[in-house]
Amino acid sequence: MNASYGIKSWLFTKDHKRIALLYLATITFFFFIGGIFATLIRIELLTPKGDLVSSDTYNKLFTMHGVIMVFFFLIPSIPATLGNFFIPMMIGARDLAFPRINLLSWYLLVIGGLFAIFAMVAGGVDTGWTFYTPYSTSYSNTWVIATALGIFIAGFSSILTGLNFIVTVHTMRAPGMTWFRLPLMVWSNYATSLIQVLGTPVLAITMVLVFCERTFHIGIFDPALGGDPVLFQHLFWFYSHPAVYIMVLPGMGVISELISVYSRKAVFGYGFVAFSSVAIAVLGFLVWGHHLFVSGQSLYAGMVFSFLSYFVAIPSAIKVFNWTATLYKGSISFATPMLYAFGFIGLFTIGGLTGLFVAALGIDVHVTDTYFVIAHFHYIMVGGTLMAYLGGLHYWWPKITGRMYPEGWAKLSALIIFLGFNLTFFPQFILGYLGMPRRYHAYSDEFQVLHVLSTAGASVLAVGYLLPAIYFVWSLRYGQVAGANPWKATGLEWQTPSPPPPHNFEETPVVTHDAYDYSTTVGEVIEVG
């Protein structure tokens, strides 16, 4: 991977591993930008009065927090970094099918991000990350079009990454790597890619329609111009609900890898876990109307969407139960990545089960647009995706860099993140249930205790996120040299030096076993810190 040096060798690279690292740097940057907005939001909410920022500024803060975190961090997070680096390696390929398109995807994300940053610097945008019409098209005086254009461009990055993965998995598997020998990380990223390719164009056209209405006053969504505002919500959520699965499915793939390697066992019910990813991808497209229960959508459509939403719980539960079953009689080690995996299972389950609450028509009327919803989706996106992302980053760090991270510090930060996360977001379930609406910077005094707890938790969480940023950089120079396979894992990516050579493998590997074949290494325990 370090075959050549210099800035040009990175900016014009076609190596999927280097492109993954470009993504890693980019999304880490966006994560900290989004984090700054989150910090300002939490500080404002310490007191019931809106005293730190004006309501207009507050509207911009939560909008830009959402836009940056969703479109420029969570969507590309696992697929574009860990997926980009490891999917070719896991299937025994030398690179992705379209290396140039892979580089183009990264440039598109950066260009999209620049538009979003331009919008922020120029004065911000205040519509919420959902851009609901007619406010976004007819009334908001902020930088809606620049932001929407940024999302439009970043969307193509997502589409091209998905397309690249699909073609790669179909055409570039090593000899003997049959579909049912693929690591589950590959299955879940394949399912994610299907969503990216099928869903993202609808978001793109929706942004174009917002542009047309805002600029040329063509009546599409604004009732005053003869449009239908609920049509926007249909189009937006047709992408943005499946987008939740773009965020969490790759995380589930990471967790399957972690659970298997740190309990020295094959994942229980491989086929079910593999197909549950595809089932989530397909079912995820049939449920978007549950975001529209109080929008004026037909009650009958609401009933259908509510009913279908419950179906997504089935493949999600299959995964959780199968991971748990994998642990049974396993030789479990509590290495840092495994701590994140345990965190994921617990937090994702809470997020998923509260998802059933908000999918129920009656309860949703009570909790719509309250902090209950905020807590629910942060349990999925932060408690789920981010935990899996950090778990995967620790797990593969020795392969990416050739160095171990400091195990003691890493365990400490995993613990801090778990505690900080729950302290931040659990009070928000209660806040929401008691009636605290989202997107308000001033609130009644009775909510203050819970808001203070939440802000305290966010401070703890911030420490938990800063620690890895510091010790990962530290480990690049001072970390213990990792060797090819520090976890004694079976995946193909571990059967080559760390960091991997430019074309991943000296010789194309031939696969003769199923994934996660730990039958020959039973009883081996991974020694950690």
Partner: protein, 102 residues
């Protein structure tokens, strides 16, 4: 990539398809000036579907593509079907229950 099938239609075929697309565009514009009531949308969409098929089958070579490529195309259309069907489930049934107070 060795299995790629590179059937290319003749220039005459492409020209015919291109002229057909131009005619279809002209018809769409012409029909816009005639009041057909609710059928205006039907005619416009029918012509649009015809044009889409011509572009996909001839210009995008779907006519000569592998089964997997055709499956991808059908998948895309099916997902468009999901978008339209479930959205219409809202629009069609919205008036079935009266609004209280009206």
């Amino acid at each position: 990539m060795s299995e790629r099938t590179e059937h290319v239609d003749s220039v005459a075929t492409y020209t015919i398809v291109w002229v057909s697309l131009l005619i279809a565009t002209a018809v769409t514009s012409a029909v816009a000036f005639i009041d057909l009531g609710p059928f205006s949308v039907v005619v416009a969409l029918a012509i649009a579907v015809l044009k889409m098929l011509l572009v996909a089958l001839f210009f995008m070579h779907v006519r000569h593509s592998t089964k997997l490529t055709r499956l991808v195309v059908m998948g895309g259309l099916m997902w468009l079907g999901i978008l339209i069907t479930l959205s219409m489930a809202d629009f069609i049934t919205r008036g079935w229950i009266g609004v209280p107070g009206k």
